[in-house]
């Protein structure tokens, strides 16, 4: 038994021949974030601190759809959401509808630790952020030229679009899973366990390209995008509606708890049962196992364990 950590940067329709200039910066970012997590675990930081730290790094990286680099709503604004959960205490915090908070995941942690509530949203969450003095910034910090372009393309196609959707030639109007408007790809997440079996999970996202103002996805929903208890910690990514409907993160834990399945089987079962092309997740168990199944074309992911195993992969 030792520590283990996994991170993701979203699952979806990622082309096998993804251009080098798109792949390399994301792989480098995953490597960097993984290293941040590994070093924190080696220094004895709690898994809750580790997942927060790593997700903050991912939020600060503009290549992923969370924090800086969040995709835009139909009004051209950002509305970020995040959640965090501690496995031992099952305490959790969640936020959504954030417009100015640099690190949504840290605000979720403050909701967990400094309010009697779990979930704060929109203006109330922004007011809480100011009260707590967390770092906030101008909306322009979050908005990248790539995401303005992405929103324009989505509006031209008159549909909401997900991060890794390929530009569709105008004459071909194929309705794919990823074009129906409920995907949530490019979301980031981290799960970690220490050598004492303490678990934690965190997830953060900007949501969907061209989403309606006010739309809430699976990321801030405990049991859907994020879950941790004494068995495992899970962070999910993909089509928000499928993940909420399937209570995907909780179901991995429920299968371990109620059916006695090992982590990998539980995770694989949950992903197989979901509609194809909609879901990916990362999970660690109390005993340091890791599972990273997905039923999409790919999922940006990385993991490491105390015994020296480490990997970064997309497909």
């Amino acid at each position: 038994m030792g520590w283990a950590i996994a991170v993701h940067g979203g699952a979806g329709d990622i082309p096998v021949d993804i251009p080098l200039e798109k792949r390399e910066p994301r792989e480098a970012a995953l490597r960097h974030c993984l290293d941040v997590g590994i070093s924190a675990l080696k220094h004895g930081r709690s898994p809750l601190d580790v997942v927060e730290l790593v997700v903050r790094e991912l939020e600060n990286h503009p290549q992923f759809n969370a924090g800086r680099g969040s995709v835009l709503t139909t009004d051209g604004t950002v509305e970020m959401e995040a959640s965090i959960m501690d496995g031992q205490t099952k305490k959790c915090g969640a936020v959504c509808g954030l417009k100015t908070v640099v690190n949504a995941v840290s605000l979720a942690r403050l909701v967990m630790e400094r309010t009697p509530h779990i979930f704060l949203a929109f203006e109330g969450a922004e007011a809480f952020a100011r009260e707590q003095g967390v770092e906030t910034t101008e909306p322009s910090y979050f908005i990248t030229p790539e995401n303005i372009e992405r929103l324009n393309r989505a509006k031209e196609a008159n549909r909401v679009q997900i991060d890794y959707t390929q530009p569709i030639p105008r004459e071909v109007q194929v309705e794919t899973n990823t074009a129906t408007g409920e995907s949530q790809l490019g979301t980031v997440g981290c799960v970690a366990v220490d050598s004492n079996g303490n678990l934690a999970s965190a997830t953060s996202t900007g949501g969907l390209v061209n989403k309606m103002v006010g739309r809430i996805g699976d990321t801030p929903v405990i049991g859907a995008g994020t879950y941790a208890n004494s068995y495992c910690a899970v962070s999910a990514t993909g089509k928000g509606e499928t993940i909420i409907r399937g209570t995907i993160a909780r179901d991995v834990a429920a299968l371990m708890e109620f059916k006695g399945l090992p982590l990998k089987e539980a995770a694989a079962y949950v992903v197989e049962k979901a509609e194809r092309g909609t879901v990916g997740l990362i999970a660690v168990s109390a005993t340091g196992e890791i599972a990273m199944p997905f039923n999409t074309t790919g999922m940006f992911r990385a993991c490491a364990t105390e015994d020296g195993h480490s990997e970064i992969a997309i497909h």
Binding site: K90, K91, C92, A94, C96, G97, T115, P116, H117, I118, F119, L120, A121, F122, E123, G124, A125, A127, F128, V160, T180, G181, E182, K211, M212, V213, G214, R215, I216, G217, V221, I222, G223, A224, Y227, G240, E241, I244, R245, G246, T247, R250, D251, A254, L255, F258, K259
Partner: protein, 313 residues
């Protein structure tokens, strides 16, 4: 073909000193809503329509904490939330932070059917309500004398909380005499064995603006699948942490428990310190309820003529 079954609730965690006339009013309303559901079921309305119809009625009556009569935020405003789910396809819709919509449950249904998304909140939900032309009202409609009187005195300005001394029972950090437990919900299985669930609330009395509870959260306050339909009420944070509504279905699915066993199991094993209650129906026509709070406003009926309305254990 199975027989239909229906259950309704008006919240868990009831003040033991609640005046008798309020208890009678609550029972009368629950009974009336049950009969609305029963006659809809007898005319073969699908389960999803029945739960919406019944919850609309509960929202419209000011007695419970949803729609008209919703609890107020610390700013003295209403922020209502609701969700609805259909079991055969597990389609769902949810809304939060709604301030002018007369029937949040019907807006949740419209999110499910007419929007590209499944959960809308605050100004976005309000915009969508206007777009869809649902019935709106100004705040006078929602804020009744009763819920205004229930508002918590600003700390320091008023220390005369006699009720608190007489009755140390606390829900969500509030003395039970002030706690507004009365989230409403309905679960139905129709003759075709289709389950549905809906839940609606004004949320926690004196809540911080922007607080989201369990009612709009699929898997927490509301859940339906091909096995059962569940609606929960009580301390929202405990219900969220426990993914309480999904747990009933999960232990039926993964442990093979029957409905009542599943309900008893989750109330006993999955709530930590939290106080809550739930109603549930199974696709084969069973109905069950369970709670560990001090009482739950509830009623249930089945096609074979069984009908029951109660508050206490």
């Amino acid at each position: 073909m199975t027989g239909w079954a229906i259950a309704v609730h008006g919240g868990a965690g009831v003040d033991p000193n609640l005046p008798l006339h309020r208890q009678e009013e609550a029972k009368k309303l629950l009974t009336r809503c049950l009969y609305i559901g029963i006659s809809a079921l007898n005319t073969n309305l699908p389960a999803i329509d029945v739960v919406e119809l019944v919850v609309r009625e509960l929202e419209t009556d000011p007695l419970f904490n949803s729609g008209r009569g919703s609890a107020l935020t610390e700013k003295g405003t209403v922020e209502m939330e609701a969700s609805i789910m259909e079991g055969t396809k597990r389609k769902y819709g949810a809304v939060s932070g709604v301030t002018t919509v007369k029937n949040p449950v019907s807006l949740a249904r419209l999110v499910m059917e007419k929007s590209p998304h499944s959960y809308l909140a605050f100004s976005g939900a309000e915009d969508f309500a206007r777009e869809q032309g649902v019935e709106l009202a100004d705040s006078d409609y929602f804020i009744t004398q009763d819920n205004f009187d229930y508002r918590i005195p600003t700390p320091g300005l008023d220390s005369s909380c006699a009720a608190e001394v007489d009755n140390p029972m606390v829900m969500n950090g509030l003395p039970i005499s002030l706690y507004a437990p009365e989230t409403v919900g309905c679960v139905v299985v129709d003759k075709e064995g289709r389950c549905a669930a809906a839940t609606s609330t004004g949320g926690l009395m004196n809540k911080r603006s922007g607080r989201i509870g369990d009612s709009p959260i699929i898997g927490a306050g509301t859940y339906a699948c091909n096995l059962c339909g569940v609606s929960c009420t009580g301390e929202g944070e405990a219900i969220l942490r426990a993914t309480l509504a999904r747990e009933v279905a999960a232990v039926m699915e993964y442990k093979g428990l029957r409905l009542q066993e599943a309900v008893d199991f989750v109330i006993k094993e999955r709530l930590d310190e939290g106080k809550a209650g739930l109603i549930a129906v199974s696709s084969n026509g069973e109905v069950a309820c369970g709670f560990n709070a001090n009482g739950m406003f509830r009623g249930c009926a089945t096609e074979d003529g069984f009908i029951e309305v109660g508050i206490w254990e």
